[in-house]
Subunit: 424 residues, 4 copies
């Protein structure tokens, strides 16, 4: 299924009058309005190939209908989403769930949908049917050299796929760790992991980045060998300038101040990118902004400020990916909601009166500093985000149009009710 | 496979001298030694039928070999374990993973192994292949009456299976809840769940108990409809005298004082029983006592004290079950370690000098109260636990004998390497 | 110091044009606008007498200037605040920090400022200079009967003060608990506390309510004898219809779903009221809405829905108090920000399209349910809240006017730089 | 008060027979027994000068009697403790609570008690009466250069005191951070703090170490500028080889794996030392080993293994300090219990069969690895620890002797009931 441009125009026309009223109100007095809108237009978030099917937990998985059965259908799904909001212009592939057999053809298909390939993802947290050695006790940390070698080779293979597809980064998430005291020698596990990462690192093409993702717990429940930002930064620093830390919002201990971590990593020049999602208890993989949208805003506030300070281009210098699991919603709807939440947070952060904030900070005027952030956050920026979409040729109300066009119903007709996408 | 009694005797004889020395040392000066040993002999912990295969997470499951393929083989496994430690004399069945086709035959088989049937468990957190209505959005809380009815009927069916097998309790664990704000009306969800539970409650035979299990999160990640002990107690109180709260040690928010909850539930006459495991982060389902054994001891300390105060029989008046997941260990070894940890904690609790403790409490002598608990906890009671096993006809060192007899290797030979038991 | 009405008018006039534009935009299409505004006007939040000075931690306290030195000056401070926002029309006294020597005069003084007396608060968590028996090891839970008696008598004394002042409720917050395993017998501590509460309960006048506040930890760090909502509800249920649970937002374990607790307590008819604040780690006592404003909105969403379902009057049937500590801000500024955050959350909750939400819930349309809540939350309601203030005779921008009028500077001039208010 | 040696001998003689029996049992089959006993004898833990009075919380402080009123009396207290257990042979001073007026005399006094001076501690988390600039908004991070300078100068002053007393390290704990989003620019705060630390660093004598302590929260409740081990390590790495990370066990987010942090810091050569205590919720400052003794053991297990791997001397190469608060116990009793818990954990860790453990790790035999750790942990090592005390000339049962000798009663007689020691 594809969404004809005229359907979007039709939709936009029907909402235009009301939109204009809202936009004019929202735009009034906004300094640098055009620059903000341009940033919103340019900002693209990558969609992971594994997020297009219904997610699940160890307790169960309740598939919806019309899930993509192939990598081509996954590209079609991201294409649909991107045509609705012009903000999901990249796809992040997971190997081996989505191995492109004909990279050129896949790249061309993606291009037709206006999509490029973002970071590629390796998988050494599961055993594949044809796999020689098991990752039951880890991969890059494994006590057995041959198992480490297998995992290293897999990562290098993934990089090759990435190169063929025009990606310029690999995300290495390791589930390596231990479930019980005594299982691992922490020091040796760190050392082995570092050596394994190093072997992958030296295989990186010149323009390639390696993102070292950390996670506090799960699937290992006593220790994780890349367990927090401190460890990830240690690895990335020892590896070299192409290695960076990747922040997944759900991968922290309770109450962690993620925005501070983001600010420090950025300041160290070692922030690689994000996996966006939201959580209340752990790696819940909920829709971005559905639990604590103020935290999301605060993270973007650090990004806007920190990237300005480093002279970075917001939209392109970091890896922006969603990494959520859609257990009780239509995945495409969930992704539309996620991107909307991200754009809103970004727009609010762009509205922060930085100069006045800095002035307040310089005199420790805490109440005023809070006022300034809240002033931006309490502003209803939805019309600004919608205007950016309008200018980019997307729909004013993507989710509404998605429902009006009965996209899911059509996908079910095309693909069937009982399809199950690869993924978790 | 079965373990011949003479193998156990052989094993015990080879260790007897050393054991005697240790036991004599441990026994010296212990008040009420014989009573303590008897309690240790009598104390039986139920093994859940789903804990005999390798567990997993949503990220993967790495099966070991020789897993039981049928309910008969599961009973065989529990039989093996029970013959080694004479402490796992009950099995807790999960329906529909383990539906006995011929209850009488199954009951007879269990009896041959010295096993009885503990609480039966219903499952409305997964959809079964032949199931009419989905539990994607809950079961007993579902907005759709027919779905609730289906879940109620399933529970009543489970009770029937229990009756046939000689079980006298049903554990109702509901994954019901919500993943996002707005998904549920909390009040109505509570009300619907209460009504559904009531329909199950009225179907209970006279001697049957209902255990209402609570859990803070997972698989729902915003709210759980039976989320904490307060909610479970509300349900149990409104339902009536046959309804009780069941405490799973891993089902709490971070830092919860579980021993206090246990004490209060016991004091209210509403503690039904336990699901034993250990955890560091959430419902990690780790081996009992592997992360915080002092907490386990403190829980048993409350149980010993509270049951004494209520005139209860320790070993039989509550439901004692293990509910762990064995992701990186041989399940039977893990269960042997779990039972050992439970017995140790129980033995230490039985050693607490209750009178002196109460006297210290009466004068708020905090340092002394701590000394008294630590005095018991720091005592090496393994020889007492081993002596209880010896007297019961079990092995002095069950895990050691298990390995010496190459039980797993034999099971793999009998059942094959690639078997996968039903369960999570 | 007092703020002349004409200063407020002057301030409002200068902002009126811009306000009108914003209000008209905000009001467009709002169903039941007048009803909403009226609710916002009526909604009053009580200010605790201990919140008017700079707060601190065990590590230090950095007093600001011009803190109120007497109960009269505290009333003056609340009067100032109330004249600015007409939303803080009640004061919650803490005994013995603020014992009114002449209740009649104090009541008259408060009335002059348009203030009434909300819940009175007892204090058995500190020893007073002239106190006979110490609360080092608890008060209502104490093993010593005379100490319990002393604490009971104090609470009854506090009720008497409340009666004289026209208050109709007492908040009982107990720091009772234990710091170490073994220190307390949980069951007996619960029982003693219940009996002590009962003696206070029977001393309540007919129209008086007792709020039983719970707290997860601090100042006791192993157990709290009223530690969670489940325990508080147990006490309140056993005590009788005049006893209620009070929810302090910062008194929970990490990740607790407070809005669900609120919904259940309301549904049980046992929600007494709130202590508003915000927190990231524990009982941080931060400005309301400064850390997780979406959670605040979700709580109000439950309140609006639940009170409608019970036919309650939102503004008057529950106790609404702030309980924050102002360590790094001017207390009055902090309180103005807190009340603004509360009103915004309330206004957003009033905007929720309840009917459509219920319809979405009835068909488990999770994405839509989320949309509806976010639709209300993302709306900029500040102009509605400001309009309510305008109609009530308060300032459009209370904090701005507070600063323009140099209130703090004036208070310092009147009272001195080095004054320290009683409190924590 | 001083404890005569003959009182200790008397006490030991009365217990000797029973001790011998226990020691012989405990010693049987222990490989390297004499080496272990020597390590236990040598291992000394520093007592902080602020831990000799009753601690408190912001809610209250309930002083006991006989608290030391001067630095001389504090040394006397530590001397008493050390004479009882010969394990607290160092004192850690806090400036300005305990400024030695005559360093030489103080040093001589300490030497008389067999005490040396461990790390000195600076204090920039409180304002002192005569202080020019306030630390309300931080010290080394402060936006005002003069305030930073004042804090730097204070730290340099503290080092000078340390030099005079023969100390060779300074512990810098900063309460610096923020209470609200927006208050701080994280990047600049980090940078300013780093620069300030650098100025202190360059003032270090050659043999001096700087310990950079981290803390997750409190007294700042939104961010801490040295908030976790990752940040502390960043500072320490940038500062140079004399800067190290200090681990306070209570300064972590919920569920943190502290033993892994310890292992990694040790492996990086950046572990400076410890502040020992225990906690259930946060920085509870409870008696060491009173909440989770297995965690304490696991930490020591990493230390023993890691220090062996680095060829370090266990007893002297790291800073070992207690940092607890004694709110409901006699401080000296609490300290005796703490040291006992530390020694027990250390002894258990020394019993771990490292070779077999490593062999199990090399084949991922998780169950066996757990068995090996539990084997050591479940061993009753109290007789070994007591034997080490006996050989060092200390009491077999220090707490018992402390009570028998009525030390506290004597101190009250000497110093009075209402004395309050400086500290928190």
């Amino acid at each position: 299924m594809q969404i004809d441009k005229y359907k979007i125009d039709e939709h936009n026309n029907s909402l235009l009058k009301d939109h204009k009223r809202r936009f004019e109100f929202a735009a009034e007095g906004v300094a640098g309005l055009e620059g903000i809108l341009k940033k919103l237009v340019d900002f693209q978030i990558a969609i992971p190939s594994w997020a297009l099917g219904t997610g699940g937990t160890r307790f169960g998985r309740f598939s919806g209908g019309g899930e993509p059965r192939t990598i081509e259908e996954k590209i079609e799904d991201v294409g649909l989403l991107h045509s609705l909001n012009k903000s999901g212009g990249a796809i992040s592939l997971h190997i081996p769930w989505d191995i492109p057999k004909d990279a050129k053809a896949i790249k061309a298909l993606a291009a037709q949908h206006g999509l490029r390939f973002d970071a590629v993802n390796s998988n050494t947290f599961q055993d594949q049917p044809d796999q020689k050695l098991s990752y039951k006790f880890g991969s890059l940390q494994h006590v057995d050299k041959a198992t480490r070698k297998q995992a290293i080779d897999h990562n290098i293979e993934v990089i090759k796929h990435g190169v063929e597809l025009g990606s310029d980064s690999i995300t290495v998430w390791l589930s390596d760790g231990s479930c019980f005291p005594g299982q691992l020698n922490f020091r040796k596990a760190f050392q082995r992991t570092l050596e394994s990462l190093h072997e992958i690192y030296v295989a990186l093409p010149d323009n390639f980045k390696m993102f070292v993702e950390y996670k506090a717990f799960e699937p290992n429940f006593y220790s994780m060998t890349v367990g927090d930002w401190g460890q990830s930064l240690l690895y990335a620093s020892k590896l070299g300038p192409k290695a960076y830390t990747l922040v997944d919002l759900g991968h922290h201990l309770p109450n962690a101040n993620i925005e501070q971590i983001v600010a420090l990593l950025l300041s160290e020049g070692k922030l690689g990118g994000f996996h966006f999602n939201d959580s209340k208890y752990g790696d819940d993989d909920l829709t971005v902004g559905s639990i604590n949208p103020y935290q999301l805003f605060l993270i973007f506030n650090e990004l806007v400020e920190g990237m300005d300070a480093r002279g970075m281009q917001h939209a392109t210098d970091l890896g922006w990916m969603i990494d959520a699991s859609h257990n009780v919603k239509d995945p495409l709807e969930d992704l539309l909601q996620s991107i909307e939440a991200i754009k809103i947070a970004y727009a609010q952060a762009l509205l922060v009166d930085t100069k006045t904030l800095q002035a307040a900070q310089e005199v420790s005027d805490v109440a005023k500093a809070q006022e300034i952030l809240q002033q931006a956050y309490r502003t209803d920026v939805r019309a600004l985000v919608a205007e950016a979409r309008l200018r980019a040729g997307a729909a004013l109300q993507p989710l509404q149009l998605y429902r009006n066009l009965k996209v899911r119903e059509n996908l079910i007709k095309e693909r069937g009710q009982k399809t199950v996408a690869t993924g978790l």
